[in-house]
Symmetry: C2
Subunit: 404 residues, 2 copies
């Protein structure tokens, strides 16, 4: 069944082991909490510095007073309260007129709606009681001073910025992710823009990897194309590891004569190295830790590289840097059976659509033809865990919506 000659390592094990050897960390930097902070990852638990609302606030137009003054009020024997002009200190049997949103004096615990109030000389008459808290938005009821409003690792969206600003917080600490260098290998590879030659392949994988990492928030640098020569690849790794904490290559991970990238990687004398992931697609990928830095040799095929990024790199950096990436998930009915090999984590691209009140997921072909087009025809990812033998047609599966 499994023709791969090396031992395949489950992605969870790779993540747990690699983390023990990796010494890279994001640096922490302070930025103003405004539009430039969008999509950055926060490096601290951000806590509320003030209660919201900052004071007890009227939720309606009426009169603020003590509920205890009205306990015995009834239509037959209304209670008369004096209307005070001084809202800073409210005495018993006094009330103060408030509009919606106004600050309510500390001593008042209710706001009587104006509809229930009759003028009575200099004061007002009220013919019923109200439970404590009625008509009042209590200080701190929305947000309480000291509570965590945004957790460490969260990726900032516009509403996070709004919430931080509403607390009067001007600057926040965010992670500056390490710079990543990416190069591709392969003598059969053409750069986009070059004239096509028969049997050659345009380099889409390097650009996919660069874009994917940029999309995750990494600063990336494109380090071009290296011919499939073990020494040249080795020297490229060496050169880049002197400057970058994370280095990616694409191609040269397949079997036999052509796995010069993996050979070059092992010559770097890594503290930790795995060649062969228990994932599909993407089995031939390799990962290594060299002097605490991360080197990732991805497959040359774009779909395999995407799978290695999703199933190995992403869980690794989310855990390593304690950052969060949330893609929405949805339950959808499979339109056809997909078998899966136990012991292998499989990544399927699927097309999700809605018909009436149900969602359907059509798995797209991964082998043979149809490889590149599925990159855009698919709009969701289905991960089949390693202990599963697959799913039947009609099974409800949870898929991650990546671009719907």
């Amino acid at each position: 069944m499994n023709k791969f000659p090396y031992k395949l390592t489950p992605p969870k094990q790779v993540v747990n082991e690699a983390i023990r050897y990796l010494k890279i960390k994001p640096t922490i930097t302070t930025v103003e909490a405004t539009f430039n902070a969008i999509e950055l990852y926060v490096a601290e638990n951000i806590r509320a510095v003030m209660d919201i609302p900052p004071y007890n606030r009227a939720l309606l137009d009426g009169f603020a007073c003590r509920s205890s003054d009205l306990v015995y009020a009834s239509e037959e024997s209304p209670v008369v309260l004096k209307v005070s002009m001084n809202s800073s200190k409210l005495r018993p049997r006094e009330c103060v007129k408030v509009n919606t949103g106004d600050k309510v004096p500390e001593e008042a615990d209710i706001v009587v709606p104006k509809e229930y109030v009759m003028e009575y000389g200099d004061g007002i008459a009220i013919g019923r009681s109200f439970p404590p808290g009625y008509g009042i938005g209590r200080r701190g009821e929305d947000i309480r001073k000291g509570e965590v409003i945004i957790s460490v690792g969260e990726r900032l969206k516009p509403w996070h910025i709004a919430l931080i600003s509403s607390q009067g917080i001007k600057t926040i600490k965010v992670y500056k992710l390490p710079k990543v260098a990416v190069f591709s290998t392969g003598s059969e590879i053409l750069e986009p823009g070059e004239p096509y030659r028969d049997g050659m392949v345009y380099d889409s994988t390097r650009r996919l990897v660069l874009s994917y990492l940029r999309w995750m928030g990494f600063p990336v640098e494109d380090k071009g194309l290296v011919p499939d020569d073990e020494v040249k690849v080795y020297l490229k790794f060496k050169e880049l590891l002197a400057e970058y904490d994370i280095v990616f290559s694409t191609g040269g991970t397949s079997l036999g004569e052509r796995d010069y990238t993996v050979k070059a990687l092992s010559k770097l004398k890594p503290e930790y190295m795995v060649h062969g992931f228990a994932i599909k697609p993407g089995r031939p990928g390799a990962i290594a830790v060299v002097e605490g830095k991360l080197v990732f040799a991805l497959s040359g095929f774009p779909v395999a590289a995407l799978s290695e990024l999703e199933l190995v790199f992403k869980p690794l950096v989310l855990k390593l840097f304690n950052i969060k990436l949330r893609h929405p998930k949805i339950l959808a009915k499979l339109t056809r059976r997909i078998p899966s090999q136990p012991g292998i984590v499989e990544l399927y691209r699927v097309r999700v659509w809605r018909k009436d009140m149900e969602y359907y997921a059509e798995p797209l072909m991964l082998t043979g033809s149809g490889i590149l087009s599925t990159l855009i025809h698919g709009n969701a990812l289905l991960v089949i865990p390693e202990d599963s033998t697959g799913y039947d047609e009609g099974d409800l599966v949870e898929v991650e919506l990546i671009s719907w």
Copy 2:
């Protein structure tokens, strides 16, 4: 029911009318199709320049030949084919050895799997026939030259970049969205970082708007805070309209004495102006077209401003610039009834979660307290259309997942 004194205009009408007066356009610029193009909007239909696969390709290891040569082949009378070393021109009764992925000669229309082949002298013997196309990935079967692979207006994701590169396309045309200026108004407003003073409010709305626009891909500039003085606001609009195609203000749109922003806006002699949208929240907002440029006076409250952005500005610019924004949608069961006023488009923030095999949506309170915290506790938006009277508890509603 509706206490707003002005005529409320439905958002669809605002979009359709404003578009007739607006003269702003995104400029079109050429960029390299790599990581720097991520999240930009494409300004053209991108068409495939070559077939993928670029030639007929073997889907398995075996021998490529003509299916017509094997029509009468059977176990009892196998057909013998000569193995040719010249794959460029295949004659009848000849075959050529191919591995998975290899180019198959034009003349061959099948690849016979090696398992069905026996050596026979210098040639091979095959004991069965195969239907035309067997074992071959046909040229253009994945992507056909000339077909649109990415439509105009699409926002570029990593897989789009991969697909474009795989076609050898180096540069693409993208939209450069117009620069947007945003200022806030209000004498009760404090800037984050300033010491808190009783009764004042920190400016979260301007930062929300800036972040939201930046998130959509607009270049934005923060133009600070202007006191609530009609002349100063008027002069600010004038100054900014000289330089920017789109200008936003926040605050000063509410009723009576304090709607200085709206008064200043009307003094700009707009060709088109609407004050009061048939949306909730966000009714008091105003929109104007001044010499073909767009001015948007948003409410001062962050949640109302967000609603104006979502229900009026977003549909307007998507239509005006012909760009696409896809947020995933999901059907979820409402946990409580939400009434809605016919004639008004309502925006609810909801919290969506999954329990067993179903999704639930809990509408978050919009009035009273709980306004700011719902900005982060909510993870989806529910739009109630203008012809609806609302939904019952248990109704399945489609919500847009904004940050789940």
